[in-house]
Amino acid sequence: MKRLLVLGAGTAGTVVVNKLRPRLDPAEWHITVVDQDACHHYQAGYLFIPFGIYRRRDVERPRRDFIPAGVEMILGQIEEIDPERQRVALAGGRHLDYDYLVIATGTRPVPAQTPGYDGDAVGDSIHQFYTADGAVALYERLKSWEGGRMVVNIMEFPFKCPVAPLEFTFLADWWFREHGRRDKVELVFATPMSEVFTKPVAASHLTGVLEAKEIRVETDLYVERIDADAGALVAYDGRELPYDLLVTVPVNMGAEVVARAGLGDELNHVPVDKGTFLSTRYPNIFALGDAAALPTSKAGSVAHFSVEVFADNFPRYVEGLEMLERFDGHANCFIESGFGKGLLIDFNYDTEPLPGKYPLPGIGPFSLLQETVTNHWGKMMFRWVYWNLLLRGREIPLPAEMSMYGKER
């Protein structure tokens, strides 16, 4: 009996066991997936919690509901990965031996990486929305906030869902207008990059949207520390950006256990071949989803598309055959922009987000890099798609490989 062990039952880990169970003979393959807690989070939904659009119950489901029959699910803390002995140790002394390992332990916000991100100010003047608890605390704070300068900042790249801080800022603009408080709020978007987005065409579209919404942009702000007493971000170049309410994207890092095993880069993400997700160091270890160090977005869409490629390749690979499919870095993201509208971007390793229609060329129904009502409904309907189709590995009519049809250069 061969053993496939998947670490992490988030988006990538859950989809991979759903895709592989039907493709691997149950008489030959034992599949196990491990996660540290019982609750699956629809992380894309955190964004809506601070504005009261979603509540916690909308983004949480039991993980087991999405694990197919014939896959063993273990709840436990992963203590150690030993690639030489092909063994994973769990808290409490249990060991799991494997023939093939898939690391899908994701990436997570690590506030402690930023000096000053601690103490009483956290949850008062310093907030983040990258955890359910953080998003709920921000919802409570916004309800009673009188106004002032709200700074939305990014501490470090890469981080998951790279459009989320922009979306948060757009939604904040909408929400304060809806509540008659926009004139009491100054909105500032601060990023360590020289542009508001990493890709030029999308950056210029999004800069236009920011200007129209009267959101000030502060670029090249690489934060050294938070001075919570003064209420300011202090940058390495000496600049200080004062805030009354800070909504930050903390430094994102992969799992500690990845670092302890010597499998991570400087942010504990696993270096892999960007076409096949095979570890650059071990021929029986793959990394999928946010856990992998790939030059594309850390996002659910990437996890989904990359697992489709991986699931086609893996049964060939274990028979000693060449992996025929190569991932192109395909990502797509709805960008909620407030007032019931949204944008959509679709891109890969080589092609930046461009205007056009998606997924059907000329028809859509979604419009790329344009604010439309249909895009907004696409985003809102996606939660249903996520829980009912995507996680369970069912067919979604969106090809894994990006298409140039429908895009305008």
């Binding site: 470090e156 790249f157 890469p158 790279p162 360590p192 990059m193 020289s194 990493t198 890709k199 090249d220 690489y222 050294e224 390495y236 170049d237 880069d265 400087e266 942010l267 030059p295 594309t296 977005s297 990502a331 891109f347």
Partner: protein, 105 residues
């Protein structure tokens, strides 16, 4: 694509003046490029960073980020801002003859 002669060698540059072929780089070119952006002279600390960037690029195929340099080269971020004032990530890459870091999506 503009071609310039620097320190006796022909090098191709992009619109922003970054070298487009890392193989054309020499230490003399680095000294010249550093002077262009007001870094003169290049100290041992500068060279430590530049040599790390060069060897890391050879292995990884991408220009190291500030965090990668500070974690792996033993020169902290604050020091990088002192060595390459203003926009260190761009300036380091410029002097080392490498593409400016992409700062992943």
């Amino acid at each position: 694509m503009p071609i310039a002669t620097i320190a006796g060698r022909e090098v191709s540059l992009n619109d922003e003046g970054f070298m487009t072929d890392p193989a054309q780089w020499t230490e003399e070119i680095a000294t010249f490029l550093a002077g262009q952006i007001g870094i003169d002279p290049l100290t041992d600390e500068h060279w430590k960073v530049i040599r790390f960037l060069r060897s890391d690029y050879t292995e990884q195929g991408e220009t190291a980020t500030l965090r990668r340099v500070s974690t792996l080269a033993g020169v902290d971020t604050k020091a990088l801002y002192t060595l390459f004032p203003g926009k260190p990530a761009r300036k380091m890459a410029y002097v080392a003859g490498l593409p400016k870091p992409k700062g992943c999506v």
